[in-house]
């Protein structure tokens, strides 16, 4: 029997297959981890359909797709509110939906948030590339034919086991707060290169409002805000580091690095470059990535510095929400 499929009627703006933990083991060759940006909403979507939380599902950015299911499936939509409809009737987010073969799911533009996740029971049965189904679309790797989904494609889905019944929900306390608020507190850890910034520059980073610009995507989130000022490490360095104060001898870029190119900070996210020659004074913590994922151009960031141990604690707190204990049966 042929695999069950999903037909793509409309792809949305840039909808891609993502999976956790992403593409691990090839970073030293320049392959980024990719994977879903909002690991909180992503895992809750999978739990609602009875999948392991890491299972391949769809990430929809800003404008969602229109899909027709060619087999009975459980579906759940989480994250941004793209006003989902099934066969023209509004359906709820954060809820298990039992659909019949031939039913049509339509997502619109994001009313709140920026990224919605659509999980399907059995998961998306894309061919793993370098050990992962996660899409790195800039380079044409993973997912469905290496790129965002396209009109006319049939996306294969895997065999589903048992799962939550129709109407099962995520307890409200276990959901991320995606409510249209345009101001976000983004937690960071100082380093690796905070010592290249002077005291005034550090104070400005933590006290200023930073605006997310439209030139932002899954490689980097570009911010506008006040000017940076530098310590002698940046201005009195060996020539091989380069001329600009923000230049440093090429080094690895941590996931979430606040990468300073000249005067423009760019937060490097899931599909970002692995190495380069600019300093990273701060690094956004894993537990704050869902906020990056759900913010929109024009939104305001304030940064709050935590210790490494506090940042790891935040991740544990987030992970505790991503278990079947968060499911509430109808």
């Amino acid at each position: 029997m042929a695999n069950a499929t999903i037909d793509v009627v409309k792809p949305g703006l840039e909808t891609s297959v993502q999976e956790l933990p992403g593409r691990i083991g090839y970073w030293e060759q320049g392959f980024p981890p990719s994977g879903p940006m909002d690991i909180w909403s992503f895992r809750l979507a999978n739990l609602l359909v009875g999948n392991p939380p890491e299972t391949a599902a769809l990430e929809c950015q800003f404008l969602g797709p229109e899909l027709v299911f060619q087999a009975p499936v459980r579906v759940a939509i989480t994250g941004a509110d793209m006003m989902p409809m099934v066969d023209g009737g509004q359906v709820d987010l954060w809820t298990t939906l039992q659909l019949e073969a031939g039913q049509r799911l339509t997502l619109g533009p994001a009313r709140t948030g920026a990224r919605a996740y659509v999980a399907i029971s059995g998961g998306i049965d894309a061919v793993p590339v370098l050990g992962s189904r996660a899409t790195f679309h800039m380079a044409g790797i993973g997912g469905i034919d290496g790129h965002a989904i396209k009109t006319g494609q049939s996306i294969p889905i895997g065999q589903a086991g048992n799962g939550p019944q129709h109407g099962t929900r995520i307890a409200p306390a276990a959901r991320p707060a995606i409510n249209g608020e345009r101001h976000w507190t983004i937690e960071v850890v100082a380093g690796p290169n905070d010592d290249w910034i002077d005291a005034a520059g550090k104070a400005r980073f933590l006290e200023a409002d930073w605006t997310l610009t439209a030139k932002s995507d899954r490689t980097g989130f570009r911010l506008s805000g006040p000017a940076w000022s530098f310590s002698p490490l940046a201005t009195q360095k060996r020539p091989e580091h380069g001329r600009d104060p923000s230049n440093i001898l090429d080094h690895g870029y941590p996931f979430g690095a606040v990468n300073l190119a000249g005067q423009t900070p760019i937060i490097l996210v899931n599909d970002g470059p692995s190495t380069g020659g600019f300093i990273n004074p701060y690094t956004v913590i894993t537990a704050a990535f869902w906020k990056l994922a759900q913010s929109r151009p024009g939104d305001i960031y304030r940064f709050a510095a935590l210790t490494v141990e506090e940042a790891q604690q935040r991740r544990r707190q987030l992970d505790r929400h991503c278990t079947p204990a968060s499911l509430v049966t109808a």
């Binding site: 703006l13 840039e14 083991g25 090839y26 970073w27 030293e28 060759q29 320049g30 392959f31 950015q61 800003f62 533009p109 590339v129 679309h137 380079a139 790797i141 290496g146 850890v189 380093g191 690796p192 290169n193 439209a214 030139k215 932002s216 995507d217 899954r218 570009r222 060996r238 091989e240 580091h241 380069g242 230049n247 001898l249 090429d250 080094h251 690895g252 941590p254 996931f255 979430g256 990468n259 190119a261 000249g262 470059p273 692995s274 190495t275 380069g276 020659g277 600019f278 690094t283 956004v284 913590i285 894993t286 929109r296 151009p297 024009g298 490494v308 141990e309 940042a311 790891q312 935040r314």
Partner: protein, 323 residues
């Protein structure tokens, strides 16, 4: 708001400067030594990465230490270490904090660094790749012409490299550039994009980067920026001075050719590369074989690289000599 949103493939203009970021000059091939730290500097990169800086200079010896350190960390099989990215003078270590605590990991990394000591006596496995290259090809020429017409006037890259490095002519540029093995010091930014350091000190070439950067570079282009040579794996922006092209793919997302069975990118850090000059006829023959899927990459030499043997050889050379 949705209307403002446009995915921006390849337009990461700040960090795209990465290709263009080596404004450095490789001063002493052996390094001065005093800029190799006795103890590594550890800097957190968020909640699951650590940057480890082993020194503060651009030298082959320091980069060899980075690779020796990476090999020792891999050999130690520390539970919770996920990935390593060796770079010119540093190493990024990604870890799982549920399996190893930050302070415990640093303690382990300090101990491993101490166990290596100096690099003398170290041998590392290193593969040698032969890369066929057509120098002064029409495609990079067209790319340079396009830049000069649309973006900024500049001396043609090949002539610029000749005059800047005190060479007699383009023929000598080919002899010098293809007269050495290169060390794959690091890979990054784009899948398969390597930073190659010349191992023969007589073959060092340097050049500043483009300013502003190029918006496109032909796939397979060979360029020099700072003291580093690279091959652009695909059509991407860039900033190195460009003067040659290789028809041999160094990365292949479709994994069509046999060389890409295990990864999509040919090179790994610590490999070596040798450029083999070819003529247009050979270039077109290879391109045809690549296009029909029958191309076989040249045999790879599997060898061990001994830092002592390398130093012994370098000491016999007159570094002021050119080919």
């Amino acid at each position: 708001m949705v209307g403002q949103w446009r995915p921006f493939p390849g337009s990461h203009d700040g960090s795209l400067g990465y290709i263009t970021s080596h404004v450095a000059v490789l001063g002493e091939q052996r390094g001065t030594g005093d800029m190799i730290f006795d103890k590594p500097e550890f800097r957190p990169g968020g909640d699951r990465n650590i940057l480890v800086y082993l020194g503060d200079e651009m030298s082959f010896d320091l980069n060899f230490l980075v690779h020796s350190y990476a090999a020792a960390i891999r050999e130690a099989r520390l539970d919770g270490v996920v990935e390593l990215i060796p770079e010119l003078a540093s190493l990024l270590v990604s870890y799982d904090p549920e399996r190893i605590a930050y302070n415990d990991l640093i303690r382990e990394l300090v101990a491993i660094r101490a166990s290596i000591g100096a690099i003398a006596g170290i041998e590392l496995p290193s593969r040698l790749f032969y890369v066929p290259v057509l120098y002064f090809d029409p495609w990079t020429q067209a790319c340079v012409d396009d830049y000069r017409a649309r973006i900024a006037e500049k001396e043609p890259d090949a002539d610029f490299l000749v005059s800047l490095n005190g060479l007699a002519d383009r023929r000598q540029l080919v002899r010098v550039h293809s007269g050495t093995e290169y060390w794959v010091a690091a890979l990054g930014f784009w899948p398969g994009l390597g930073s190659f350091l010349p191992l023969d000190p007589r073959c060092r070439l340097t050049a500043p980067k483009y300013d502003p950067p190029r918006t496109w570079t032909p796939k397979g282009t060979v360029g020099i920026g700072g003291a580093i040579t690279c091959i652009y794996p695909d059509r991407t922006p860039g900033g190195y001075q460009i003067f040659a092209i290789s028809p041999m793919p160094i990365w292949d997302p479709s994994q069509r050719l046999a060389a890409f069975r295990d990864s999509l990118a040919l090179f790994k850090p610590g490999d070596r590369v040798r450029f083999i000059p070819i003529d247009r006829e050979e270039h077109d023959y290879i391109s045809g074989k690549v296009d029909d899927g029958t191309y076989k990459h040249p045999d790879v030499g599997f060898q061990c690289f001994s830092i002592d043997a390398y130093h012994g050889w370098v000491d016999t050379l007159d570094p002021t000599e050119r080919f």
